[in-house]
Amino acid sequence: MSPDPYLLAGAALFAIGLRGLLAHRNLLRCLLAINVMGSGVFLVFIAIGARGPLPDPVPQAMVLTGIVVSVCATGLGLALAERLQELTGRAELGEDDP
């Protein structure tokens, strides 16, 4: 299982998520973007660890930790976005549009 297509896919996922994070104002979309970026990073980690005959357990453990922290961050981010919406009526960044 050559990991090369996955390495490129990981880079692509990171870039796609980054583009979404920069371009969108809706907080929910920003959280989606952060999740996609995280998935890209995990993909690169594990693909690198899968190059040898035996899989490397260290990046796998790191990604496991990363996934759990990622869901915590998403949960907290959603609570923040909902609180912002409860207080101001909008869940968007910036004051450009009315």
């Binding site: 990171f14 920069l22 357990p57 796998q60 496991l64 907290l76």
Partner: protein
């Protein structure tokens, strides 16, 4: 305008990353051989579990701490009603739950137990049970109250982990340096408490805020 700039930036980032990951790598290896060589001393035959709870136990301790920190932060932001208003409108879910919830609990416990030797572990088992809690919540069968028991369950994982860590320090060793032959039992102890915390934390995160207090509040 903003969209176009972000697309350009993202494309440049992708180009740099693609160039970086397809570079000529040195011999693959990392720490695979070292990690696998000490598995019996580490107390687990699953190398990932050995890394998580033996070689890098401190990182996992902090991770359990992050779980607690996240749910405490969510609780400090919002309050939610304990009862699920639309639970009664999902009778099919109720029928499904009668079949699935016991299986979920058994499967979660199995993943915890088998995690030392085969793929699995506390996080996988705890996450599965949390999924069961979410389904139960949707049916209205899980109405957590902010009381002693819930809070105890949320901190249990971190408490046990810190307790074991303090114990290893008190016994004269370095932090989380398990004594000879005790490694696998200590790992199981830590993971057992962690499963409870992980399941309750992730289930509570689904609520999105702090539930009603126990019997004190009207």
């Amino acid at each position: 305008m903003r969209r176009h700039i972000s697309s350009v930036v993202a494309f440049v980032v992708f180009a740099v990353l693609a160039w970086g990951v397809t570079a000529e790598w040195t011999e693959p290896g990392g720490l695979v051989s070292e990690a696998r060589a000490s598995l019996d001393r580490a107390g687990a035959r699953n190398p990932v579990t050995a890394v998580l709870l033996s070689y890098r136990g401190y990182d996992t301790l902090l991770e359990v701490g992050v779980l607690l920190l996240a749910i405490a932060s969510v609780w400090s932001l919002r309050r939610v009603p304990s009862t699920e208003p639309h639970g009664a409108e999902r009778p099919l879910l109720g029928a499904l739950l009668e079949l699935i919830l016991p299986l979920v609990v058994v499967a979660g416990g199995y993943l915890l137990w088998i995690g030392s030797d085969l793929p699995g572990g506390a996080f996988q088992g705890g996450a599965l049970i949390a999924g069961g809690l979410v389904l139960a919540r949707l049916r209205g069968a899980y109405e957590p109250r902010d009381g002693v028991w819930l809070r105890l369950g949320l901190v249990a994982g971190l408490l046990v982990f810190v307790g074991v860590a303090a114990g290893t320090l008190a016994a004269g060793g370095r932090l989380l340096e398990y004594p000879e032959g005790r490694a696998s039992s200590l790992i199981l102890l830590i993971e057992g408490a962690a499963v409870v915390s992980i399941a309750l934390t992730l289930g509570a995160m689904y609520l999105g805020g702090r539930p009603d207090r126990g019997s004190d509040e009207p």
